[in-house]
């Protein structure tokens, strides 16, 4: 799986050099290793902020607020006229390109057209909800719509479909139900609670951060506790009630019996080991404690082995990348160019 384009090749080389930069810290802490660490932390953090904005803040806060505000101030007659006029012009024109998926379907069924209503709505939204657009100006709206449709490659061949969708769009566009006002209030309260977290940076007002903290913990505990109690305590306790002697059609299943016995002994002795309310001086107590320690050691050993497996897997992944995509990929890329 090597690089296909020159841009890919540059990406692979950057990734390979950064990988080597990180591994250089095994020899000694150098400027390169520090730089790669800083790049890693910076890129991860920067990207997670961007993703959180696009998946959380934008769809849940920014877009509803912008839409709400614009719906309050829009001159619907102006927008309707501009949209209808510009749509009629576009639908008549032959310059509109088809997207790849649409043309494939159109080719298969002669005379038919495919109309992507959602995409059409999205293009209308992006054209009408621009922060800088004056929705009262017919000309501005028409220009914005025409440029949005020209660059969208949306299939506008069917005039009926376009006009039908436009009517559907305006049905929801014109409506600002009362619940919308409450929704905006809810958004403001949520944002306010979120902003209160930032008061942690100002010691004088840090007490304000306790409110969102209490809210978050309260919600988490309220929703999580009943389910966690059920799944992590009740069902686990239930699963430890097992028969000490397992029978099958041929008599006693010795292997299963041994497994169940060791599970019960292990559970009891490990619990006993962590029981510190009295001194464990008699032989039986010390014996039980030793068995508990043995079980713990076996458990830690298994965890340690799994840890080695996981860490080695990461190393294998990187060396696999260096070998297949960097060295072999670069060789094959230039071989193909020749």
């Amino acid at each position: 799986m090597g690089p296909d384009t020159f841009i890919d090749l540059i990406g692979v080389w950057i990734a390979a050099l950064l990988t080597l930069g990180v591994y250089s810290s095994l020899i000694k802490d150098t400027f390169i290793s520090k730089l790669t660490e800083a790049v890693f932390v910076g890129v991860s953090f920067g990207m997670s902020i961007v993703f959180t904005y696009y998946n959380g803040i934008k769809p849940k806060i920014e877009e509803p607020l912008v839409r709400y505000y614009q719906n309050l101030h829009v001159d619907y007659a102006t927008v309707t006229n501009a949209v209808t006029e510009s749509m009629a012009k576009i639908a008549d024109a032959e310059t509109v390109k088809l997207s790849e998926g649409d043309s494939a379907v159109v080719d298969n069924i002669p005379g038919s057209t495919v109309f992507d209503t959602n995409r059409f709505f999205a293009v209308l939204d992006s054209a009408l909800y621009k922060q800088t657009l004056k929705l009262q100006s017919t000309n501005d709206v028409a220009v914005s719509l025409q440029s949005a449709f020209a660059s969208s490659e949306i299939n506008l061949k069917s005039k009926d479909a376009v006009m039908g969708a436009l009517n559907e769009y305006f049905k929801s566009y014109k409506t600002v139900p009362t619940s919308r006002h409450f929704w905006v209030l809810y958004i403001f309260i949520s944002v306010l609670l979120g902003l209160m977290f930032i008061t942690r940076f100002f010691p004088k007002h840090a007490w304000l951060s306790r409110f969102p903290m209490a809210y978050t913990i309260g919600i988490g505990v309220g929703m999580g506790t009943p389910l966690s109690f059920q799944s992590q305590i009740m069902q686990q306790v239930q699963a430890s009630f097992i028969p000490m002697l397992v029978r099958n059609s041929g008599g006693i299943d010795w292997l299963a019996t041994f497994g169940n016995l060791s599970l019960v002994i292990g559970t009891l002795t490990v619990l006993y080991y962590f029981f510190f309310s009295f001194k464990k001086e008699d032989a039986a107590s010390r014996g039980a404690t030793k068995i508990g320690i043995a079980y713990l050691m076996i458990g830690f050993g298994a965890s340690f082995a799994f840890t080695i497996m996981a860490r080695v897997s990461l190393l294998i992944g990187r060396i696999n990348f260096l070998q297949d995509e960097w060295i072999q990929g670069t060789y094959e890329f230039f071989k193909y160019l020749k």
Binding site: G224, Q238, I308, M309, L315, I319
Partner: protein
């Protein structure tokens, strides 16, 4: 001899770390040159995960038959004594049956909750299970849990399973986004999102990752809430995050659940397997290799198992040497 040992001792003392690093790198590199897949037996834990997907179409058809029987029973009851409550139950049963018939081979939700750091282990298992589901005609939903950085990686995994390529050939036709699968992306507060999916998937995720509205997608016509999903696989690199799925999917809605973890975290999840709360548990690279070998996926994890084998042998050798040294030093000190 004594002089040689003392010289070797001082050489080793000063450079043992570098030597061990170089040898580990060398073992991994040499092992990766070997392209032959390692012959592995499939563990019960991985078999459980395989069975969930393998039996999904059959179980889904059973669900349809059961629902038809329930509907017939309710209609018979209504013919004897009708009531508003019974009518509502019939309407609900009819709507559910209709949804079941739309995605007739079942719906499988794959939660990709890891970033590039754990891709070496978890990437092959997520790819193999999506591919396995595609090969059986199962519809696949993909979402991200707690790891926001999982999004671009998930898109790559989904694309390679749906579209394939020269190095990742697939035994089925191209899979279409919106009809055969949908990638929801990441939403903040996953636990609340999972709970919301119990009410309505469309209210939890209004659009897919690329911003297209889900409501008009053909695949979503057969999915109203989490009960319309036949099985869930949660692949995670973080201890504690699959518990959200155990609490919501398994405990609250009783949906079969499989967990795939990195090897370092997997031991925490064996109690859930033993108690029957999980149908299967895929354990690190080894589990991924077992899965891909069984479903006939390209041997990505399997090829890496040679390196695991060599480095484990090397680690065991180091432990033995370390213990011998400890006992010799202990004797000297005594």
């Amino acid at each position: 001899m004594k002089g040689f040992l003392s010289k070797f001792g001082s050489f080793w003392k000063n450079r043992y770390r570098a030597i061990i690093y170089i040898m580990t790198f060398a073992f991994v590199w040499l092992a990766l040159i070997n392209k032959k897949p390692l012959d592995l037996s499939v563990s019960d834990a991985t078999q459980g995960a395989l069975d969930l997907v393998e039996k999904m179409p059959e179980n889904h058809r059973k669900k349809i038959v059961e629902q038809e029987e329930l509907l017939a029973k309710l209609q018979k009851e209504e013919s004897q004594h009708s009531s508003a409550e019974l009518s509502a139950q019939i309407d609900e049963a009819k709507a559910y049956l209709e949804r079941l018939k739309i995605n007739s081979n079942g719906v499988f939700l794959v939660c990709i909750d890891f970033d590039a750091g754990s891709d070496a282990e978890l990437g092959p298992m997520a790819y193999s299970s999506i591919r396995h589901a595609f090969s059986l005609g199962i519809k696949v939903l993909i979402n991200n849990g707690y790891t926001v950085m999982a999004q671009p990686l998930s898109q790559m995994i989904v694309d390679s399973a749906a579209l394939g390529g020269a190095t990742m050939p697939r035994p089925y036709g191209f899979k279409q986004a919106g009809s055969d699968f949908v990638f929801f992306g990441f939403r903040p507060n996953p636990f609340q999102v999972y709970l919301q999916m119990g009410e309505s998937v469309l209210s939890a995720y209004e659009t897919d990752y690329s911003g297209k509205a889900l409501a008009d997608m053909p695949i979503m016509k057969g999915i109203r809430d989490i009960r319309d999903i036949d099985g869930i696989a949660a692949y995670s690199c973080n201890v504690g995050t699959p518990e959200s799925w155990i609490n919501v999917a398994q405990t609250k809605f009783n949906i079969p659940l499989v967990v795939g973890m990195t090897a370092v975290s997997v031991s925490d999840y064996f109690p859930y397997l033993q108690s029957g709360q999980l149908c299967g548990l895929i354990t690190g690279l080894r589990g991924a290799a077992e899965y891909e070998k069984t479903v006939g996926a390209p041997p990505v994890a399997n090829r890496r198992m040679w390196a695991q084998l060599y480095t484990h042998a090397f680690a065991i050798g180091l432990i033995i040497v370390g213990n011998i040294e400890y006992f010799i030093k202990g004797k000297r000190a005594a």
